[in-house]
Amino acid sequence: MERLLLIVCIAAFVSCKTEPKQSENISDEKKLPEKVITIPSYTYETLEPLLHKEDDKTYVINFWATWCKPCVEELPAFEKLNATYKNQNVEVILVSLDFQNQIEKRVIPFIQENNIQSEVVIMVDPDQNTWIPKISKKWSGAIPATLIYNKHKREFYEQSFTYELLQNELKKF
């Protein structure tokens, strides 16, 4: 490890020598991951507008977490739905319920590794007993859970989805 550090230092030093003008900025940039992902954190107050938009789109809101096996298993269905229908006024939003201290450690690596294209936000509001019933009276708090809505209709599902099931539900909107 020390040897590696030494090599990196020497390499940095050598590159500094050859291109002195850009030295520090470049070595700083190199430390960052290739693609920088930030996930917006929400409380119920800030999430609520996302769940009540009155534009022409249909929103598919999936509540999930990286530790939730059935959630992870059904994510490809939501990704496929997003890819297939995003040009038809459909938007998929993945609301992660991972613990706040897991955002850097698990959620961001998960999104990168699985190349998740749908929008991901994280819900960090601890007062679950207050906000769960506001999202749906039908929701016991178990995940996966999904809300589909547009300005005319909204439906809540405490269940797992396959792509076919999800597509069938979306067609009712």
């Binding site: 977490a65 530790w67 096996k69 059935p70 613990f99 007993n129 019933p133 929701w139 708090g141």
Partner: protein
Amino acid sequence: MKKLNILLILTVFAVITAFAVKNSSEGYKIGDTATDFKLKNINDKMVSMADFKDAKGFIVIFTCNHCPFSVAYEDRIIALDKKFKEHGYPVIAINPNNPEVSKGDDFESMKVRAKEKGFTFPYLFDEGQKIYPQYGATRTPHVFLLNKEKGALKVAYIGAIDNNSQNESAVTAKYVEDAVNALLVGEKPKVNFTKAIGCTIKK
């Protein structure tokens, strides 16, 4: 007229069965009588609530090994048991998951986890998953506080342990503690139903 009578009887029957089915699938509501169970504990002995002759009630918690919310609450579950066992309300933990679909929730792993954490309460395995649907547990952890009233175990509280799963120091409402404390002074819990995020019970 006879036809009408038959129709009436059929309708009444249909309504009754519809309600009966509805109730059993939705599980217990506050005030319902909870059924006892006979499930295998981590020491390989069978445990029923009837074994606890002196108990005034039970803090029944559906929980498991793998779920991060269950893990986050382990220390708080031990604390609940230590605090209320001597007052007649011991904790009974039940793992409702099917270990074939929920890795780490098998009986042997339950024994390991209970030993690691030093569980002070029975940790039972809902073999065949017969009990959790009767209670209506949907997630882990999911608490059912039972109170003995005239020999029957009545459901007094259903829901979460407190209002902050991720950060114990930020808890502002201890739902289960408050509910047991109410029962201890002969009152009904003020808050008798709460919701929380948890892991789905794996079938």
